[in-house]
């Protein structure tokens, strides 16, 4: 006798659909976006970006005035270098000012990503669905990078585009060429930010079911590293390569700050450049943290998904 003959109701549901990690990412981004902290920090970043945008606009206009040229009389390419310097300065100011906000954003949104699921005992609810532990880990790991891309990195790209748009008609192409490294620098900033902050917050978030504890741990690592580096610089003036790398906020800023100081060509700039963390070291730390955070979340989900 077949099960159908015994009254079995055949399955009529779906066998396909979007990947589960995408659904998890979307749902978590929506949930994070709806929080008050997120809205406040986003507005803060927006205000900062607007202020820096105004500063950049004024600087470009001022350079034109100082050169004693009206926009129509300017010789092609005459103001490209000053515009480039103004853009690099604007980016440095924006990203430096945004460091604390970005760190808070990472702490407040990232720390609850897994901890909230653990507290709500929702992992079992999730893992008895057609998803794998890797889907869960990937979905969670991409939440903060997505938030940072739209909140932190994108304003820098907008400033770059605006600076290009504010060039005199004949200078635009020359400006793009002179600043062609800017998107790469912002991209590197984003990768370091995403890797470091997302990895760290996932690591602490998957280790506890209490969001407050996870936030405190993440804050201790982020700001503790920053303080450690500061103490090192205060004591011996250079803080050693390893100590410099403990500061996540400075690590992520390195690709943004260094192009600006490199244009200055003075002793102070050289001194500051020498004290920025090694980019490859910063990348290893960010990548390592991301991998550790991802694996920790995967292992957590895996322990619910299946047991040997």
């Amino acid at each position: 006798m077949t099960v159908h003959a015994r009254g079995y109701r055949p399955y009529a549901g779906l066998f396909g659909g979007p990947p589960a990690w995408w659904v998890i990412l979307q749902a978590n981004v929506e949930a994070v976006r709806a929080t008050k902290a997120m809205r406040v920090l986003t507005v803060l970043l927006l205000i900062m970006a607007c202020c820096v945008g105004l500063l950049l606009y004024a600087q470009i206009g001022l350079d034109e005035k100082l050169a004693g040229l009206s926009p129509k009389q300017a010789a092609p390419g005459a103001l490209v270098e000053s515009s480039r310097t103004a853009l690099l300065l604007a980016l440095r100011i924006y990203y430096t000012a945004a460091t604390t906000v970005v760190s808070l954003l990472a702490i407040l949104t990232g720390a609850g990503l897994v901890a909230d699921d653990l507290r709500a005992r929702a992992l079992t609810l999730l893992m008895v669905r057609p998803i794998r532990a890797v889907d869960y880990a990937l979905g969670k790991a991409l939440v903060l990078p997505w938030i940072l891309l739209t909140r932190a990195a994108a304003p820098g790209l907008v400033l770059w585009l605006l600076a290009g748009a504010w060039q005199q008609p004949g200078d635009t192409q020359a400006f793009w060429e002179a600043t062609q490294n800017v998107p790469g620098a912002i991209g590197t900033y984003l990768l370091l930010c995403a890797g470091g902050y997302a990895g760290l917050t996932l690591l602490v978030s998957a280790g506890t079911s209490r969001r407050g504890v996870a936030s405190a741990l993440a804050a201790a690592v982020i700001f503790g590293g920053f303080v450690l580096r500061g103490i090192g610089l205060f004591r011996d003036g250079s803080a050693g390569e390893l100590l410099r790398l403990t500061s996540l906020p400075t690590n992520v800023l390195a690709p943004i700050i260094s192009p600006h100081w490199e244009t200055m060509h003075d002793k102070r700039s050289q001194w500051l450049l020498d004290r920025l963390p090694d980019p490859s070291g910063a990348a290893i730390i960010a990548g390592g943290l991301f991998l550790l955070g991802f694996l920790r979340v995967w292992k957590r989900a895996r322990s619910v998904e299946v047991s040997e």
Binding site: T2, V3, Y8, Y11, T124, L126, V128, R129, I131, S307
Partner: protein, 308 residues
Amino acid sequence: MNTAAPTIAIERLSKWYGDVLGLNEVTADIGPGVTGLLGPNGAGKSTLLKLVCGMLRPSLGRVRVAGEEPFGNPGLMRRVGLCAEQDAAYPGLGAWEVLTYLTRLHGFTKTQARDLARRALERVDLGQVLERSVGTFSKGMRQRFKLAQALAHDPDVVILDEPLNGLDPTGRRALSEIIRELGDEGRCVVVSSHVLHEVESLARRSVFLFQGRVLAEGTREAIRSELPDHPLHVRLLTPEPRLLAQRLLEAPGVVSVTTTAEGVEALTTQALAFFDHLQASAGGPGPAITAILPGDEDLEAVFRYLTR
């Protein structure tokens, strides 16, 4: 799918937790309709359900759900709905929102998932509190929410782990009604419980587990009839108890007859022949029988005999 197979086929399934034996060579076939999985705490019910849901790897033997092995096969969970024993609730999120998210993980679009989630919540009588946070639900409402999340994606295999725990009589009746409907729809519904009378009204078939072993499987009448060492206890209501008692002494297999104020209580070792005799004499002269009530055919009694 192999349609000749039962929906859940369990074959000599064993599970060790280190040195502790959780399940010992369990064999059972579970088809459409409601099946009770019964046994005291620690009998191995949750272990068996986890094996059926692919959350545990069998140590020996095998389990197949809809023709597929569940372990390491998350795709199969599209067809399975699990109502886990423990509570899970996302604090701050509305019931509809949570359920939409969980349903989307089965591959549905957001619109489809919202519709399915709403229908599932309405089915368990939570349609009035769609937007209310699950964290603020009473115990009964949470149990109903758990059932809704197991049903929203329209599975054909529904696993309910202690679904009636902590419910008041009204809630128990309402939930029992839904579970019965699920069975009537042709779904394979497995209801585990350590409270036997809870399942009595729900499940036609039962699997009795005790210390990791299957003690018996089938309908309670069939199981009871296979316990010849324990004579069947039958209560017969009649206005003439003494006369009926005399007649019953002639019935096959009767070992004792006791009169009460309402009727007669008889013990018989040949249940089927005894009832045939009653049926044959029903039309003839003699005392009228107004009701026949099983005295010890309920699950409690069967389980007591099985474990004695």
